[in-house]
Symmetry: D2
């Protein structure tokens, strides 16, 4: 019962099966294999749009290689103050862009506050030689608070981007959970709303280690091959990355897995949220639950072997992240433990 993160889980059986199948025989290396050759078409079909797609192994690689295509070293990238790229990637964005500045913005529920973004863009940095040049906005979908931007909310941000000549990146480490939560078309949440590049996450959603960088405007990808290689992210045996992504798209496995994860979060939120003294602090729209709980409840769950993060000691706030392979029995056991403790 490990709810610390969705990356404590292994890979889905379908992924392992695909890896075993792809393991047979010799294929060209460095992305010239037949699996990798299918990626553009597979994602273009999924997004109903011509896409240029590159597989990488980690979410950080997907994010920072994307950003390096969008922002120069003298550029500014705007993101939420809790964004993974800002607080959890040990300066990888700065490294890959050659020194671009992450300008962090506040915002409720893990989402960028539009007024704060506008205020920044109104500072007039563009064209001033003393200032970082506004280059891109990066939004996280689902957010670090377990919430999701609606297509309209994405479009609102994209609108500001376009007005100021910025590119829009989406860190979709949990994109599947967001789409599952919104039950919308992937296109509606991305290029139709104005997203230029998407980090399409699979690892947290049941892959072994695979993420797709999806460019909705191929011209933005011109330098990607070289940036990926000099970042050390080109796999010689690329087939193993590509086949994970293909398996995810096949029969919508990615959505099925995400829906499972989201359902577990819903169960936890419903169960824990109605306990006396409990409060779910942010809307549960994907696979994460942030809930304030009496100390006794948290202790009881841990005593039964549950693992989860204390998000804020001071606020008695806890985070539960549900992976694709957690069961309703797991969540029910958790809720039961907490309930009994408070009875």
């Amino acid at each position: 019962m490990d709810f610390r993160s969705d990356n404590v889980s292994g890979a889905a059986p379908e992924i392992m099966a695909a890896l075993l199948e792809a393991n047979k025989g010799d294929v060209s290396s460095y992305g010239a294999d037949p699996f990798s050759a299918e990626l553009d078409a597979a994602f273009s079909a999924l997004f109903d749009h011509d896409c240029k797609v590159f597989p990488v192994a980690t979410g950080t690689a997907a994010n920072v290689l994307s950003l390096a295509c969008l922002a120069p070293g003298y550029g500014a990238i705007y993101c939420h103050q809790d964004a993974h790229i800002a607080v959890d990637e040990c300066n990888a964005p700065e490294f890959y862009t050659g020194g671009a500045k992450l300008v962090t913005l506040p915002g409720a529920n893990g989402k960028i506050d539009l007024a704060a973004l506008e205020a920044q863009l109104a500072l007039g940095w563009t064209g001033s030689q003393h200032s970082a040049q506004p280059a891109a906005v990066s939004i996280t979908q689902a957010t670090e608070a377990g919430t999701v931007y609606s297509p309209d909310e994405v479009a609102d941000i994209a609108h500001r981007c376009k007005a100021h000549g910025l590119k829009l990146h989406m860190d979709g480490a949990r994109f599947a959970n967001a789409v599952a939560g919104l039950n919308c078309a992937p296109a509606d949440l991305t290029w139709r709303a104005g997203v230029d590049v998407l980090s399409f996450g699979a690892t947290k959603n049941g892959a072994m280690s695979a993420e797709a960088v999806v460019f909705f405007k191929p011209e933005l990808a011109e330098s990607f091959l070289y940036r990926r290689k000099r970042g050390g992210h080109l796999f010689s045996k690329s087939r193993y990355l590509s086949v994970q992504l293909l398996a995810m798209l096949e029969n919508n496995l990615w959505l099925r897995l995400a829906r499972e994860a989201n359902a577990r979060a819903r169960e936890l939120a419903d169960g824990l949220g109605k306990l006396p003294g409990a409060k779910v602090v942010w809307p549960v729209q994907a696979n994460e639950v942030f809930v304030q709980l009496p100390a006794a409840a948290a202790a009881a769950m841990r005593q039964r072997g549950a693992l989860f993060h204390t998000w804020s000691e001071a606020d008695s706030l806890y985070r539960f992240v549900c992976a694709f392979d957690k069961s309703s029995a797991d969540t029910a056991a958790l809720v039961r433990a907490a309930t009994e403790a408070l009875a």
Copy 2:
């Protein structure tokens, strides 16, 4: 019959089995899993020396993260002019070191010429503010020419390094093939000879994608964790990297696989080398064969479906790389095709 490279092959069955086994259940992410916890001890036993070991997914990542720990942006790194880091990594060493200069040196059989190295070090750059500061030497083992440095040859270079305050890195993408070819102790070829950091390759030797950065002096690894993360090379599901490496070391799988590959190269060299008009141009000491052949012989092999690289059109020079899973039947068929063509 694909002899273009050893990375056209899939993973060995033992590797796939280990991955399947490791896929069970939840474990801590980001390297805190029980598999990763065994790495230091496993490699320390292999090398008969206290080692600090970090798994990464690509050879380029292993090389450049190593070099970044050894050379500052204003440093110079000396290597052979055909070294992978110099010609095949799209400036990854320059990127990761923050701009260090690769000073390329000539040398027969793919090995650095000692006199050329000494001549460079005699230029007196150390301490001159106008010059890149000599920081490290990187040697490739086995070399790009399919040869190997003997322990004495490594020690000769290490001796120069020590005299000039340089660190010594070994790019061991084919370290297994070198050890198998020399039939020596891993320790003799590395720390006992003066190597500071080793990129221990597994991918080309039958892993799916796994390399170990092995520090023989733990103090050199102080910044490694941060450099790996900001390079995007920390796997959230690190277990899948670590378990490949552990499987390689178990019962000396790494050596068994390398010996197979080397034996195939031996067979090819023996068979092709004695054809009329043929000449094996560099000693076959690992799993690669570079051989000059009459055009008819090359054509005949290709007609039978063999894939291999033309190394130099002008010199009718061809490269054959043998992976762990090629069979004696494969090599025999190749030799037979060439022989018949020249008969």
Copy 3:
């Protein structure tokens, strides 16, 4: 009557005289001239401490070369949110450090809020591979708000630095004005209070273009020569930088010039501050005045040819920066114009 900045002024006559004098004859280049040879001793005497000193031509160069000696690319540097390095140097700190993150902190009167600094340091980034590694604090003296840190305030920050293993940098573009304002010993404001490296500014204080990077701990300067050269900041004719700095120290020219500038700011603050509807918003402790004024007063001064910045249109806030060569007649004329307009 240009009060837009202290860099609109030319150089002091003493500086021009020194340059003319130094122009005679041949001297060794690249810092091996006799003028440059005096720098260490001259600054060591000024600071009553062994110093290692390097001349550069711009304040940005002084700041970022300093910071590059203190923080790695995976590091974090803490500074005030209005600091020049954060908002006016077009990502130069990120560039020179290889990607370090500037963590900006709030604070009244342009000074870092101690509690905000402590809260950041309490986040526990040190040793976490996901986080930028806390490396240095940079404070601006005098601040961007025209205020100064007292020796005790500097020591308070240095105390936190020491407790967390951080280095302390002081951006002293207006260090002379701060020392003149506090009337303290340069030592008390720097190394005795815990400062490790100082950007000692001269350009804004009447030099043509010269700043000194002053290391109070020589071991921190080990890589400076190489970083300066690869930044393109080593002058072949270094004598012209060094002689400006020596002329500044001779007979305390630097303090005399700064006292003049500060006195003008005092006059402006006194004169403008007592106008009806006026308010000096931050303590005037160096050579800058930030004052809210009725629109008519600002307009009247501009009509008489005065130049100064509107700091905030919304708040009717104006900035006046006094250079060393402004006269009491200048400031009196300004005050008179404003007074008459409001009469």
Copy 4:
């Protein structure tokens, strides 16, 4: 009698006079002063072509800011193996480009061998993700050997650049000496021959510290302002850089000074070259003389106080660099000393 370099000299009287004149009064800072505003027009007139011009203080800054506009971090820049950017700038090109690789080429008389360049470009790196992407060629004019490329020779290189999509940079630290030596139009040696960007040197030619980056294609300069600032090379008091450059162009001071320097080199070459056992090893086409001399001759000159570099102890090769302010009496005295020693 210091012939070690042309940067041991001070500034020409006209330069000092211009600095004194420009020192009067307040002007806008950061390049918005009236002197800087004249640069584009002044250089456009000189080159008979629309130019975009930026002043910086050092030759290294001029070179590497230029190159950073021409080559990405994954790029390759081709230059002569003795080029200043390759051997004397402590990795500044690598730093400013974010890791581009300098590919050094051989060539007689300090000039790039065309066949060697063609051989490199024939390697087929363009478009290969493993390889640095060919981006630019940099030639030095006059070369490090004291020779000059003729307009036709420049055009030959530019022709290769165009064929492969490369940009052409000219390091003109001694551009004035080259133009004076060739007695050609500046346009013929630059944009008409295919040069895209020129580092126009003034410091070695009698300025205090000033170089102009001259873009012959304005679109290449789009990012220059930001790169200059983040490099710390934007002077707050920019007038002092710009006025030096303007003074150089006024009444062709730059050419008059260069002609003086070149004439001195001619005198030295003529005088020393005909001594018994002496040999001028490279054509004297600018202001440098490389001459093999009997040890006694060198010793005698040094005894009379002459300073000059031993270029190669083994070859008894010496370098004499003539600055604008050396006199015929100086060179005659040198020749006399050597002659007497060998008599």
